[in-house]
Structure formats: C-alpha cells, structure tokens
C-alpha cells in the first residue's frame, strides 16, 4: 500500500470537494438543500451509488471496451440508482416523498460519472472504493452545511431562502467564502516563503 496515495485519495473529498472545488452536481445541491434531513438523505444516497459504481467500474475496467465505456458506466450507475429508489420507496416512504423527485437524477449527477471516468477506470478496487467514500461524504457534508445554513435563515424569517433563488445565492456566497479562505491561505504560504521560513 502506498501511504501517500492512500492519504491523497482519502482527503479527496475535502481538497477536491465536489461542490466547492470541482463545481459538479449543482442541481441536487441547490434543489434539495432546503433542510438538513433532505440534504443528508440525498447526500447519503449519492454516496452509496458513488461507492458501488466506483467499485464495479474498477472491477470491470479491463473488460469494458474503450469505445462503449460511457454507456456501460451509465448502466452500472443507473442500476444502483434503481436499487436506492426501490429501497427508499419500501423502507423510507416519508423521505421518499420529499426527495424522491431527485433520486432518479442521481444517474445524471456529474460527480458519479466524473469519478468513474477520472478515477475508478484507472485505479484498483480498494482505492476506487475509498475515493467513492471520500467524495460521497465530501458531497454529503457540503449539502448538509448548505442545508443547515438555509434552514437557519428560513427559521429567522427569510422565506426567500426556501425557494430556488435562495439556494443559488447561498451557494454563491458560500463558494465565494471558500475562495476567500483559499486566497488567504495561499497568501499566507507565499508570505512564509518570502520571509525565508518554512512553507506550511
């Protein structure tokens, strides 16, 4: 096991956060982050599909011909999404009523196809599962943070945040905040280098 690669893969969900850095999977992020329950439910459903599609894409990466790889990946993803759909309909009907509309759309969530293409098709099963888990949890965390902030704002009486408009604006502001922190961090590193001190 290569420790460095393991660490990089495990931290992928934070350093390459799907929502704030890669800007993938925006539609469920904005549509389903009106409260924490929906955000958590959809995030975990996405993480489940991401882990299993990564594992299967990785297992089949030497079998699938290069030319038909995208349709094959989509079929694998759609299979797991259907599983989630059936599971929710049977065991969690109340959650299904609120997020059911967005479950089929996990198929077209760019994060999943993106990780299958960029990571799972090139790496072994263990790393792919870890990458799926890390990315999935990173996505869930961003969704829950966004959901929490919107929930607080709605409770404070700003009903506009329960609409799509509020979702766009909250995400835009959060992303700007994320960029701002990254800018500060980079300047800090640069300043450290100029002083001759050690880079962080």
């Amino acid at each position: 096991m290569d420790i460095k690669k393991l660490k990089e893969t495990a931290l992928g969900g934070i350093l390459n956060n799907p929502v704030f850095v890669l800007v993938l999977g925006m539609c469920p992020t904005i549509g389903m982050s009106t409260n924490v329950t929906n955000a958590l439910g959809l995030g975990l459903a996405t993480a489940f599909v991401l882990v299993f599609s990564n594992v299967f894409v990785s297992l089949l990466r030497k079998v699938i011909p290069d030319k038909v790889r995208l349709p094959s990946y989509i079929i694998i993803i759609a299979t797991f999404v259907t599983l989630v759909q059936l599971f929710l309909a049977k065991f969690l009907p109340s959650l299904n009523a609120s997020i059911g509309r967005f479950i089929p759309l996990i198929v077209v969530n760019c994060i999943i196809l993106g990780r299958a293409e960029a990571f799972a098709s090139k790496n072994s099963v263990g790393y792919s599962a870890l990458d799926g888990l890390s990315m999935g949890l990173g996505f869930t965390c961003s969704l829950v943070i966004l959901g929490g902030i919107r929930m607080l704002l709605i409770a404070a009486g700003f009903s506009v945040f329960s609409t799509a408009a509020g979702g766009f604006i909250t995400l835009g502001l959060l992303m700007a905040l994320f960029n701002f922190i990254m800018l500060l961090y980079r300047n800090h590193v640069k300043a450290g280098l100029l002083k001759g001190g050690e880079a962080l």
């Binding site: 800007v23 993938l24 925006m26 539609c27 469920p28 904005i30 549509g31 995208l70 349709p71 989509i74 079929i75 759609a78 299979t79 999404v81 259907t82 759909q85 059936l86 509309r101 089929p104 759309l105 198929v107 077209v108 969530n109 760019c110 196809l113 506009v160 609409t163 799509a164 408009a165 509020g166 979702g167 766009f168 604006i169 995400l171 835009g172 502001l173 992303m175 700007a176 905040l177 960029n179 701002f180 800018l183």
Partner: protein, 193 residues
C-alpha cells in the same frame, strides 16, 4: 384537450415553472456554457431538440413498460434513450454543422448528463400528460432553458468588463446572478390560469 390547458403548459414551462430557475435542473450547463451568447444559443437549441425528442420517446416507452409491468426499469431505459439521442445529435452535427459542433465541444456529450433532460422525461410521466401535451411540454421546457441561458450569457458578457471582487470571480458571481434572475422569475408565479 382544450386550448386553455395547452396555453397553461406553455406558460408554466417557460415562465412560472422554469426548468432552471424554479425546478433547479440543468445548472451545470447554465454555469458552463453561458459565457458567450453564441454558444448559449447553440447549447440551448441542442438541449431543446434532445428534450423534445426524448420526452416523446420516453413517453412511448413508459407506456410499454407499464404494459409489461416493469416500471422499475424506468430510470435505466430513459437514460439509455437520452444517451443514444445525444450520440445521434453528435453524429448529425459533426456532419452538417462543424462550426456549431466545435463551439459546443465537450458540452455536447454532456447533454447526456444534463439533469434537465432526464428530469423533464420523468416529469412527463409524473404529470400523466398525453402525447400532444408531452410534445408541447418538452419543446417549451427546452425553450425556457434556452431563454435563461441567453439571459445569463448577456449579463455575463457585460460582467466580464466589470470589476468583481477576487473571491467572487467565476462561479460564485454566476450563481448569485442566477439567484437574482430566479427571484425575478418567481414574480411570474402570480399569473393565474
């Protein structure tokens, strides 16, 4: 089947229940292809074509699935239909309009993963539209998408000359513009039919 119900579908697809600004589907292409008006128009029309045809085809296939009692295959079947349509569009555009093909670039293949397309195919099934209504709904949903894309691209072309604070450059400012547009569009929901 009355004229009034058709007008209701048209107005709600374009204005009151706009696919991007009210149902929050298709945001990736909105952020990705709205930097220039030319590519926004091209992308919008390509998506309109795919949404219209895929809604109608998925409507027919769903009837078959319901007939054979295998409705749980809906997601897999729909996404296959959409993927093949996009492939077809790719071949046709490459042959007949290479300029548009080049300007769309990677985003043409990404129509497959545009949730507006799969979303509207699912909506048609949920709403229980008939064939004519499905066609009209698909077409005008696409037109609504195109309109928002053109609006965004117009604003972003002007913004490219404005001074924007560093943390907001790129996606954050685009999201905030989309939010303001969405607020403006929510004013249309006062229309009663």
């Amino acid at each position: 089947m009355s004229v009034a119900s058709i007008i209701t579908i048209i107005v709600s697809a374009i204005l009151t229940d706009n696919i991007v600004l009210s149902k929050t589907l298709g945001i990736c292409p909105l952020l990705g292809t709205s930097k220039k008006t030319d590519s926004a128009v091209g992308m919008g029309l390509a998506v309109t074509f795919v949404i219209t045809v895929s809604s109608v085809v998925c409507y027919g296939l769903f009837k078959l699935l319901a007939l054979w009692d295998i409705v749980y295959l809906q997601t897999i079947v729909f996404i296959l239909v959409i993927a093949s349509l996009v492939q077809l569009l790719d071949i046709v555009l490459k042959r007949f309009s290479p300029t548009l093909y080049n300007s769309l670039g990677i985003y043409l293949a990404l129509i497959t993963t545009n949730c507006a397309v799969l979303g509207s195919a699912n909506m048609v099934v949920d709403m229980g539209y008939n064939l004519l209504e499905t066609f009209i709904f698909g077409f005008f949903t696409g037109i609504g998408f195109t309109m928002v894309l053109i609006l965004m691209s117009g604003i972003r072309e002007r913004l490219s000359r404005a001074h924007i604070p560093a943390p907001f450059v790129g996606f954050p400012i685009a999201l905030i513009i989309a939010g303001i547009l969405a607020m403006a569009f929510s004013g249309f929901s006062g229309f009663a039919f």
